[in-house]
Amino acid sequence: MDFLRPDTFAEALAVKAERPDAVPIAGGTDVMVELNFDHRRPSALLDLTRIAELREWTTVDGRLRVGSGVPYTRIIEQLGAQLPGLAMASRTVGSPQIRNRGTVGGNLGAASPAGDTHPVLLAGDAVIEVASTRGTRMIPAAEFYLGVKRNALEPDELIAAVHLNATPGPEQFAKVGTRNAMVIAVCSFAIALHPAEKRVGAAVGSAAPTPRRATAAEEFLAGELDWAAPEPLLDSVKRRFGELVAEAASPIDDVRGSAAYRKHALAVLARRTLGWAWQDHLGKEARECA
């Protein structure tokens, strides 16, 4: 096995072009488990932790560009106000030790259907910036997840960053598990209200072969919400929204939960998070009118 240690992103792309078999390692919280248990014996590891560019964030054209190697702890502590949904999901990942190392880039690289950041990235219209020596591609999150642990990366590509709205509307994320820490989601749900465009983002995790958007639920809700003169939500709207979210899922029975339970729980999470997000929106409107 080779251990490749580029210092810059350009160097890393050159190495990856030459060695497409090299497995990138960022926080290592997925890769090292596979190595420790002999589930994987790559011919080379490509260490990304020496690359300063991947650990930075900047604002580009009013959008936040967050480097793929920014650990969850820093997203929570330093970007929590700007990226509430991503910070909420980050807080539920593993434990402090895991959040100190684990990255959004690694979550995307692993592309587990249960990865906690995925629903938030989908609901928030995130765009994944991937790069190779051939150039850069901007992939909308909705086109990034192709199958169970399969993503849209080509063998010579690396994830550079995720781009997100720098002034998002209300966002919420919720996850079902047996404990508050160290839990792979039984199912998860993210909602993002986009008041400026009168749109809604909604996505489910751990409830289908890939994380996915609940498009029918998004459209239904966008039509029902009165953005200009917001009022408390009708129960019937919340209930219908929950039903449509559950319908978007195609879960399986497994050790963590049954398909029926997952659908039920998703409807509950959807109703609840919608309530919180709309409450945020009402609060904001009230403050702005006062």
Partner: protein, 153 residues
């Protein structure tokens, strides 16, 4: 491969390191530092917690090559010679140690918490220790130990 790393303030060198090896293996088997424990090798138990550049991490999930030219501080590096660190002392006094397997990881995690939050609330203590499992104590004495160490700061 060869790995050069600062461990507990000392420049150390490990040779013949396999490229897929973990920092935990290097510490325990190559550098003679068995304080950090190996229980799960998958980040679940926290018994291998060490500081890497001042940030607590699971040593079992760090690739050996990733610590080249970096600084690691293990439980062995907390005491000042024969004088235990106040967190270690509090664990002893509060009876927070039974079999002791989880203790090194918990001591490092608690040490980090008190560096960041000198007077933590109970929920803050629980959250900070959520990545460390103990099969013996039922955690109450561990919480007592952290409260004691905080009170003495």
């Amino acid at each position: 491969m060869r790995v050069n790393v600062t461990v507990n303030g000392e420049q150390r060198q490990a040779d013949d390191v396999w490229e897929g090896e973990s920092l935990l293996f290097v510490l325990r088997e190559r550098l003679g530092l068995p304080g950090s424990k190996n229980a799960c090798e998958q980040g679940e138990c926290g018994s291998c917690t060490v500081y890497l550049d001042d940030v607590p991490v699971c040593a079992c999930l760090v690739a050996a090559g990733q610590v080249q030219d970096r600084e690691v501080r293990t439980v062995e590096g907390l005491a000042d010679g024969d004088r235990l660190d106040p967190v270690q002392e509090a664990f002893v006094e509060a009876g927070a140690v039974q079999c002791g397997f989880c203790t090194p990881g918990l001591v490092v995690a608690a040490h980090d918490l008190l560096e960041r939050v000198p007077q933590p609330s109970d929920p803050e203590i629980r959250e900070a220790l959520a990545g460390n499992l103990c099969r013996c104590t039922g955690y109450e004495k561990i919480l007592d130990a952290v409260r004691l160490a905080a009170a003495r700061r």
